[in-house]
């Protein structure tokens, strides 16, 4: 019987099975940010002697609150910085950092067939490169830092084939919002979704990352796409040496006769831009049913939609225009490199001329920590990933949408169909 890509990665990284249902996997990459890592660092120091399994396979950075807001977040950064220095771990500090899920692929850490964990649920983003990438808590992260091992139940696999051709004005974010509405918020719990089909083939890596990123809102352990020409194009564009890409590409594919636990197919030819309406990311409606809702703030950024292609789409809509006086627009590139590129391509000046705040990279307001937190009763149109109650600030309301829909919404101060302004 043939293997899914998930099974190939699990089998090739298996250390042992401490019980029949559990796989202990050897890790290729452990990603560490300042919110979930410091307690693990301090516990290792106290109980196990200050050590790590392999400094070459760990990357540390500041992303959630960058730069620090207060003494507490400054201390989180200090713990990370000093640990990375002591251990010889690559560290991306304020001013040259980015959201972990965006900066690691950009800097060449993510290759097909890898096993990757991070103390962050959106780690599934990196599955876009054909890696198994899963979020964990601090305790699992601590075990990973110490020994380079992580434990997973053998996941069930769901193959989702996306067919048809996307309409003009419809993007990866619309696809994943629609898919979550179809699968449900727990429809893929303990599963890995392998995404494929002509629509995935057509998407660039930024779009595939958006899809794998939000797949976790349907419960996945990891999302995956199969490496192909688009994957290679990303490595070439970012001048990432990957050696023999052909071998990597050929090896890290599912077998032709692979058996999936679930097989789903969606024709997306008629898909409209999508917007969430409730308090979980499966509550999604087509834009036509959402237009006209007034907002106080528009946020374009996050690990879901803060990449250069997202900023280009938003800038194209905002170019030569002013946003509504009634709102503020906050644009947050996901990495310093994307920030630099946005300046180079004059996207930054388009945003600023339109009346936006163009900030340095951070996770920031997506989780209500900094850089655009909502006041009680305020409404935000956002390209982020969660519309949970109070997510961007207690008593605030969040509508999730694509960068195009968010930019269109910023022009009028109310939810607007991007196809009307493109």
């Amino acid at each position: 019987m043939g293997k899914t890509l998930t099974q190939k990665i699990f089998d090739s990284h298996l250390i042992n099975r401490p019980s029949p249902e559990t796989y202990a996997l050897k890790l290729d990459l452990v990603m560490c940010h300042e919110i979930t890592t410091p307690p693990a660092i301090l516990d290792i120091q106290e109980k196990w002697g200050d050590k790590v399994f392999d400094p070459e396979k760990i990357v540390a950075l500041i992303d959630h609150v960058s730069p620090a807001n207060d003494s507490a977040t400054a201390l989180q950064g200090k713990v990370m910085r000093e640990w990375a220095r002591r251990q010889g771990i690559k560290f991306y500090d304020v001013g040259r950092n980015g959201i972990c899920h965006a900066i690691l692929p950009e800097q060449g850490y993510v290759l097909p067939g890898m096993t990757i964990i991070c103390g962050d649920s959106h780690t599934s983003t990196l599955g876009a490169f054909g890696a198994f990438a899963a979020g964990v808590g601090t305790t699992d992260l601590e075990a990973a830092i110490l020994k380079g091992v992580a434990f997973f139940r053998q996941p069930k696999t769901m193959r989702i084939r996306l067919t048809g051709k996307l309409s003009w004005g419809v993007y990866a974010k619309d696809i994943i919002l629609y898919l979550i509405s179809q699968i449900g918020v727990k429809g893929a719990t303990d599963r890995v979704i392998e995404f494929c089909g002509p629509i995935i083939d057509d998407l660039d890596m930024d779009g595939r990352m958006t899809i794998c990123n939000m797949a976790v809102e349907a419960g996945v352990t990891s999302g995956l796409c199969y490496p192909d020409d688009r994957t290679q194009a990303f490595y070439l564009e970012h001048q990432i040496p990957v050696g023999d890409f052909e071998s990597l590409r050929n090896y890290w594919q599912p077998d032709g006769d692979a058996i999936y636990d679930q097989d789903k197919q969606f024709d997306l030819s008629l898909l409209e831009p999508q917007v969430t309406f409730g308090n979980n990311p499966a509550e999604v409606k087509p834009i036509s049913e959402m237009v006209g809702i007034r907002v106080n703030q528009v946020y374009i950024g996050s690990c879901t939609n803060g990449r250069i292609s997202d900023l280009r789409i938003a800038a194209k809509i905002l170019e030569g225009r002013r946003i509504s006086d009634s709102i503020r627009l906050i644009v947050v590139p996901a990495t310093t490199e994307i920030q630099r590129q946005a300046i180079r391509e004059s996207l930054a000046s388009i945003f600023i001329d339109a009346g936006a705040c163009f900030s340095a990279p951070t996770c920031g307001a997506c989780l209500g920590m900094s850089n655009g937190v909502l006041a009680e009763g305020e409404v935000c149109a956002s390209t982020t990933n969660r519309n949970f109650p109070g997510r961007m600030g207690r008593g605030g309301t969040v509508y999730l949408m694509s960068p195009a829909t968010a930019a269109a919404t910023a022009l009028y101060g109310k939810i607007t169909d991007p196809r009307e302004v493109m």
Binding site: S19, A24, L42, N69, L146, T189, M369
Partner: protein, 176 residues
């Protein structure tokens, strides 16, 4: 952890309680895992949930709704529950990372069929005893255990060993 855990039950009958609702992100700014309990469920405005109240002193078991712990991976959600004395969460289903975080801390995330959880909510038993060896949950009210009801639950071998050994890190440090 002991192979039997007993305590009073707190009921939170809502589905999809995400980890932002368990512990809001503004409390994620520490470098220590302690002291989060006072902010547990802070934004939910739960009526009657007050750990200062002596009646909550023995409350160690949370019964709640479907997909509990979805969203952010923050283990702070588990630490906040732990800090407030909870050792067991029972629900029809959990998000994977939250479930894994509970067991990795040596705590129990027990899944029961939705019909059974609905019956437990309806009965509103005061007390519960978890028996790890027999994998049973005994619910009852008042003094007399005989008046209650027993449910069987499934527990993966690996998860059981984590609970009995007090969590993941020691297990990994010794065995890998």
């Amino acid at each position: 952890m002991k192979s039997a855990i007993q305590g009073m039950v707190y009921y939170l009958d809502r589905p999809n309680i995400d980890t932002d609702q368990i512990i809001p992100a503004k409390y994620l700014t520490g470098v220590s895992i302690s002291g989060l309990g006072s902010h547990l469920f802070e934004n939910l405005d739960l009526q009657g949930f007050n750990r200062e109240d002596p009646r909550f002193k023995d409350t160690t078991i949370l019964v709640t709704g479907d997909n509990f712990g979805c969203g952010s991976s923050r283990e702070h959600a588990v630490w906040a529950l732990e800090d407030e004395g909870f050792q067991v969460v029972i629900a029809p289903s959990f998000a994977r990372i939250f479930r894994q975080n509970m067991f990795s801390r040596g705590l129990l995330a027990i899944e029961l069929p939705a019909e059974q959880v609905a019956k437990i909510f309806a009965s509103h038993w005061e007390n519960c005893q978890v028996n790890l060896e027999k994998t049973t949950l005994r619910f009852w009210s008042g003094e007399d255990q005989e008046t209650g009801h027993t449910y069987n639950f499934q527990l993966a071998d690996f998860d059981k060993s984590l609970v009995l050994q007090g969590g993941l890190v020691g297990f990994v440090a010794r065995n890998y």
